[in-house]
């Protein structure tokens, strides 16, 4: 028989018991939006940029330095990065956080900070690059 854990005294739990998870809707919203982007947009992005482009199967001028810069360093480019980099990063962060809990690695409070924090930092970096390119 599996051993039963001793009940934690209910006194300790009272405080945490009804603690509202006000941050979770935000993470879940970003996860869901990122999941839609990952599913709808990313297949085409990966196919064209990470498969056809390096294999030389795109027309030579399709993603030349000049054209790629013009496309990325623009307002549509900014939105593209938001949908293709930032939101999917938060999607990944959410799944990794819960995945780590699923396989009992680390503790959730720390994992949350690391995962969402990482996604936020990389998102700022990505959007910063676009802004730098637009200014430069």
């Amino acid at each position: 028989m599996s051993k039963l854990s001793i009940n934690r005294p209910s006194m300790n739990k009272q405080g945490a018991q009804h603690k509202q998870a006000f941050d979770e809707p935000l993470w879940w919203g970003l996860f869901s939006a990122g999941g839609v982007c990952f599913a709808v947009i990313l297949p085409a992005v990966i196919l064209f940029i990470a498969v056809l482009l390096p294999l030389g199967l795109l027309p030579a001028e399709a993603l030349s330095y000049e054209r790629a810069s013009a496309l990325l360093f623009s307002v549509p480019g900014f939105l593209f990065v938001g949908a293709v980099v930032c939101l999917p990063l938060f999607h990944a962060a959410h799944r990794l956080r819960h995945g780590l809990f699923d396989i009992s690695v680390g503790n959730d409070t720390l994992n949350k900070k690391l995962m969402y924090g990482g996604a936020a930092l990389l998102s700022i970096l990505a959007l910063g690059i676009v802004v730098a390119g637009m200014l430069g």
Binding site: K19, A21, F22, E24, H98, F101, D102, S104
Partner: protein, 260 residues
């Protein structure tokens, strides 16, 4: 009619065979560790797992303990693991199993004896979400000139009807790894019933329930594994209800933010 007569009657219409069923026994009075026990029993095309357990209990081994009552998937008492999957004994037929049939008590609940588990924690989680009408219209004495009862249109009923079919069998808790990983998680059936009452036009208790749902151990522990909906014997789709609960909890949070 006793079991023998029923068996005799069945022989005339069905081909009777013998099958082996392995049952995980746990008898804390005589042995600290659970062990497997094999039973050979006659089965035909209509033998349910509950029939088989009853046959074992009556004919082969009276020490076997298990719960059952209605034998028609309404009472929700006879949940067991069949080859690792939570099932109702009365809704599971041995004809669908080739080879080994392993019967264990429901996962994620403490075992009391053989196939009998302690479902107290499930009942506590259920009670926590207040699964009943709150602040509904008081029922007055019936006045034929001005009948005032619970009024609900078919459209209003349709909003929650699917989620009202839960029989509290607990199969979804045995199917849910998140409940297995953290027993404080309110779990599929409780969250589904919370959603069911939140969707009910007669109910005014949503605010009280949202306080339970919008906790880390409320809807937010769910990762939409979806196995709860696979095993649900009443096709309630608890995974859908829990995740619709996330949408509601998100709305609830937004409203709370703006109202301050």
């Amino acid at each position: 009619m006793n079991t023998e007569q029923i068996s005799t009657k069945r022989v005339s219409t069905n081909n009777i065979r013998t099958k082996q069923v392995s049952v995980k026994r746990y008898l804390p009075d005589s042995s600290a560790e659970p062990y497997w026990q094999q039973y050979e029993l006659p089965v035909d095309d209509s033998t349910s797992l509950l029939d088989a357990l009853n046959h074992i209990k009556e004919q082969l081994d009276s020490t076997l303990s298990y719960r059952w009552s209605c034998r028609m998937a309404i009472c929700g008492s006879c949940g067991v693991m069949v080859n690792g999957i939570p099932k109702l004994g009365c809704k599971t037929f041995l004809r669908d199993y080739e080879g080994e049939i392993r019967i264990e008590p429901l996962s994620h609940f403490p075992v009391q004896r053989d196939l009998v588990v302690d479902m107290e924690i499930f009942l506590e989680h259920l009670a926590a979400v207040k699964p009943y009408l709150i602040d509904d219209n008081p029922v007055k004495a019936f006045d034929p000139n001005a009948p005032e009862t619970y009024r609900q249109s078919p459209k209003q009923l349709a909003r929650y009807k699917q989620f009202a079919n839960c029989i509290n069998c607990g199969l979804c808790y045995s199917a849910c790894p998140q409940f297995g990983l953290n027993q404080e998680f309110l779990g599929p059936a409780a969250l589904t019933l919370a959603h069911r009452y939140n969707l009910d036009s007669r109910d005014h208790g949503k605010k009280q329930r949202m306080a339970e749902l919008n906790r880390h151990e409320g809807v937010w522990s769910c990762t939409f594994v979806g196995f709860c909906s696979q095993v649900c014997p009443k096709n309630v789709d608890p995974a859908a209800a829990v995740n619709q609960g996330k949408v509601e909890a998100a709305k609830h949070t937004l409203i709370a933010l703006f109202k301050g």
